[in-house]
């Protein structure tokens, strides 16, 4: 029978990489008995001996708290593998050596893989592995598992270890604990059914540490209850004599032992403040943290709104020019031009989907900036800063996590409320999370800000994001003082990653996935919505027109939108086109823009430019792309306020002109105020039908209706305040 090698290690120590290198392609995947956790096993051979390798779940120690730890602890105790390979993260020796020490205390034959030594060396940690070999009586092998370095040496060490008897590690836990261990070991040795389970000293240690898995097992063993009673008395005895709970007393001694070991291994036990800690002190500072967060957000939105403008214009020109011409030409080839089919493709699909695709560069820039912030570790700092600000007004701790997720998309943010402890906290967070401005709302802001606030575009977009946070905090504050009273917050530690230079590959993968998701949405949701809107615009309900040949005001869409429009009149955007866009925005926020593009395109009955040659079109696309790239580079200094070259395009697109005219007319000349109110309304009203569905699943139908109604009311009053308040103050 092949010797069995179990691979153990903390999460992120490189255990999986090492297992893969050991076993190559010879792997099997199954489930651990009675668990949903996957079990990986494989084989390797050396010197004609075949070894079976089992990959244990990542665990920090052998006191079973999580399911993964229980699996690892139970496997080691019951299966007694021939060798345990423990993977150690060399850059975090103190974190990894607890597991090494516990496995050694349990009496397993062990080989230590000192992994990620390159990372440790970069951090100036010089490790003398012979110290670990001397202290534990084990063989230590340096490995770089990702690159496959040290794997052959590790295999040799595993083979050699079979000839060596296991040397159980004995840590001195101090006179009090040792006396109780001694008494308990005597009881265990005297009970044959218990004595045979594991090393008696290890059984005693685990019982004193309060290991629930072992206690459950002993409860079913003859004589086990007697041992459990003795262990309980010993735990109480230790607590009474040391004034510290027994398991904490054990942890303190083991921690001191490991600190001393690491000190000898590395020469100096380095816990000095590193540069990441210094940066953290500023970024998470009680008073500086929030201004820094706002500046970071401002830069993100400045890049998003300003720097991408040349590419936004380029996509717009490509869609409204060559793509529209090619579409018409193709339809003419099959004899479908000049009819309702051409209208469906040009005024429905191209205007709708194209109207949203124009904003791909904007979303690309937003996702790029967010990915950079995520990968450097800043987003977790921002979450900590937000948390402090919100707790000050009674919003539950941890609420900031789903709220930050809401900057990306409201749907997962609502599901992320599950990480909160109580149903009250989950509900409160679910009610305020939709006010965080998701990526889908950005095209609406950019369109209107470009038309009405060309010089301060990024500042207006930034203001929308800040307003979203402010409204969420205000609503949370009101709810926590009224319907949802605050409960005692539960303590928990936020472990944040160290600051690091962003990994460009990771950033690129994130940006590609997210931008792809936006484009996929344009090809599915927006496409369907655009076709539905086109049909509703084509169907005449009044007037003399026929299908696809009717005055849009007489269409089904026009009549429904007209029915809603009076409610929005006090907000300055009571034209039916505006109310219609907001209605369709209930499907998804990007649809607001696509519907505007469709409605204004239909009304303007814009003719597609005369056809030119295909090759000339491709040349035009290529040259304008290069020009857009040059303009983007020249626009970068504008992020910090340096305007070397005037890149302002004074010429509005057809959609921008139509939007400007529409808002000016609906507000009696106060187009800026009405547009600002419209943006506030889009920010605050119901995010989309998917978010409503998610909310109903999480919190039930009653709260869903309260949420939807509340958001409409808040949005209406928000826009009302902006428009009417602004008019009263003379800003119109």
């Amino acid at each position: 029978m092949s010797p069995v090698v179990a691979v153990a290690g903390c999460p992120n120590a490189g255990k999986t990489s090492l297992f893969n290198q050991l076993t190559g392609a010879k792997q099997k995947v199954g489930n651990w008995p009675g668990q949903t956790v996957e079990q990986y096993s494989g084989k390797f051979s050396i010197d004609d001996t075949s070894f079976e390798v089992v990959d244990l779940p990542g665990t920090y120690g052998l006191v079973a708290v999580s399911a993964e730890e229980a699996i690892a602890a139970t496997y080691l105790a019951e299966e007694q593998p021939d060798v345990v390979v423990t993977v150690v993260d060399s850059s975090n020796l103190t974190g990894s050596l607890h597991l090494v020490a516990q496995i050694a205390e349990a009496g397993h034959r062990q080989v230590v893989a000192l992994n990620m030594v390159d990372v440790a060396e970069r951090r100036g940690i010089d490790i003398d592995e012979s110290v670990l070999e001397d202290w534990l009586g084990v063989e230590v092998v340096r490995t770089l598992a990702r690159r496959g370095q040290g794997i052959e040496e590790l295999k040799q060490a595993i083979a050699r270890s079979l000839d060596r008897p296991a040397q159980p590690l004995v840590i001195d836990y101090g006179p009090v604990v040792e006396r109780h261990i001694g008494g308990l070991v005597e009881s265990i040795v005297a009970t044959s059914e218990v004595a045979g389970l594991t090393l008696p000293r290890w059984t005693a240690l685990q019982l004193l540490a309060g290991d629930t898995v072992l206690r459950g097992k002993l409860a079913g063993v003859p004589g086990g209850r007697h041992i459990l009673a003795a262990a309980a008395a010993d735990r109480d005895g230790v607590a009474a004599e040391t004034s510290v709970e027994c398991e904490m007393e054990l942890a303190e001694h083991r921690f001191s032992w490991i600190t001393e070991l690491v000190n000898e291994m590395t020469g100096t036990y380095t816990v000095a403040t590193i540069w990441s800690d210094r940066v953290d002190r500023v970024l998470t500072h009680r008073y500086l943290g929030i201004p820094v967060f706002l500046v970071v957000m401002w830069v993100v939105l400045r890049v998003t709104a300003d720097v991408t403008a040349p590419y936004l214009d380029w996509v717009d020109a490509v869609i409204s020019g060559p793509v529209s011409r090619w579409t018409v030409s193709l339809l003419a080839l099959v004899g479908l031009d000049d009819g309702w089919v051409e209208s469906l493709f040009v005024d429905g699909v191209l205007a709708g989907v194209g109207g949203v695709l124009v904003f791909v560069p904007v979303l690309f820039a937003l996702y790029l900036m967010l990915a950079l912030l995520e990968d450097t570790g800043y987003m977790s700092r921002a979450a900590a800063v937000m948390d402090r600000a919100m707790r000050a007004v009674g919003i539950p701790g941890k609420a900031f996590l789903p709220m930050m997720v809401g900057f990306g998309c409201t749907v997962p943010a609502i599901y992320a409320t599950r990480m909160l402890d109580s149903s009250r906290d989950r509900l409160l967070t679910g009610l305020i999370t939709p006010f965080m401005s998701c990526g889908a709302r950005l095209p609406v802001y950019v369109l209107l800000a470009t038309v009405f606030f060309a010089d301060t575009k990024s500042m207006v977009v930034f203001a929308m994001y800040v307003l979203g946070i402010a409204v969420a905090v205000l609503i949370g504050f009101l709810l926590s003082r009224t319907a949802l009273h605050e409960e005692d917050p539960s303590p928990f530690v936020m472990v944040m990653p160290e600051f690091r230079m962003p990994n460009l590959r990771t950033v690129w993968i994130l940006v590609r996935q997210r931008t792809g998701s936006f484009i996929k949405g344009a090809g599915t949701t927006i496409l369907v919505a655009s076709i539905v809107v086109w049909f509703l615009l084509a169907i005449p309900l009044t007037g003399d027109g026929g299908f696809a040949d009717t005055d849009v005001e007489d269409s089904a869409f026009g009549l429904v939108s007209k029915g809603v429009a009076p409610a929005l009149d006090p907000l300055g955007f009571g034209e039916w086109e505006q109310s219609g866009s907001l209605l369709s925005g209930f499907v998804a926020k990007e649809v607001v823009v696509s519907t505007m593009a469709q409605l204004y395109a239909v009304e303007a009955t814009a003719e597609v430019e005369a056809a030119s040659g295909f090759v000339e079109d491709l040349a035009e696309i290529g040259s304008s792309f290069v020009q857009a790239g040059a303009d983007t580079l020249r626009a970068i200094p504008r992020v910090i306020g340096l305007d070397f070259v005037d890149l302002t395009d004074e010429t509005d697109t057809a959609l921008q002109t139509a939007v400007r005219t529409s808002f000016d007319e609906s507000s009696g000349g106060s187009g800026q105020l009405a547009a600002l109110g419209f943006m506030v309304f889009v920010l605050l009203y119901t995010p989309c039908v998917a978010a409503v569905g998610a909310f109903r699943q999480e919190f039930g139908t009653k709260w869903m209706w309260i949420s939807v109604t509340g958001q409409f009311v808040v949005a209406w009053f928000g826009a009302f305040l902006v428009y009417q308040g602004g008019s009263l103050l003379g800003f119109g």
């Binding site: 006191v63 398991e247 921690f255 998917a690 569905g693």
Partner: protein
């Protein structure tokens, strides 16, 4: 009794607390706090927080958050805060 002091500091905090907060409170380096948190994790005093169980059963496909209902780990638009939450566990208490 360094671990005991740290665990007490965590218990006394109202809501989330960062390693920097704890280091400032205890007057030690953040790196030392990190090492002590690892020790408390290994001894079972701290454990990663566990989200509430999945309540939905018929969610759509992953990838887009627009019309389907992917869970938190399935949507590409989820912003990864890269934060691990550690909660105090009662062990045998």
């Amino acid at each position: 009794m360094r671990l005991t002091s740290l665990l007490n500091a965590i218990e006394e905090s109202s809501g989330p607390v960062t390693g920097i907060d704890l280091a400032l409170r205890l007057g030690i380096a953040p790196g030392e706090v990190a090492a002590m948190l690892d020790a408390l994790r290994a001894s079972g005093h701290l454990a990663p927080e566990i989200a509430a169980p999945e309540p939905m059963s018929n969610c759509g496909s992953a990838g887009s958050c627009s019309m389907t209902c992917p869970g938190p780990g399935e949507c590409s638009l989820v912003i990864d805060l890269n934060v691990t939450g550690l909660e105090i566990r009662g062990l045998s208490r």
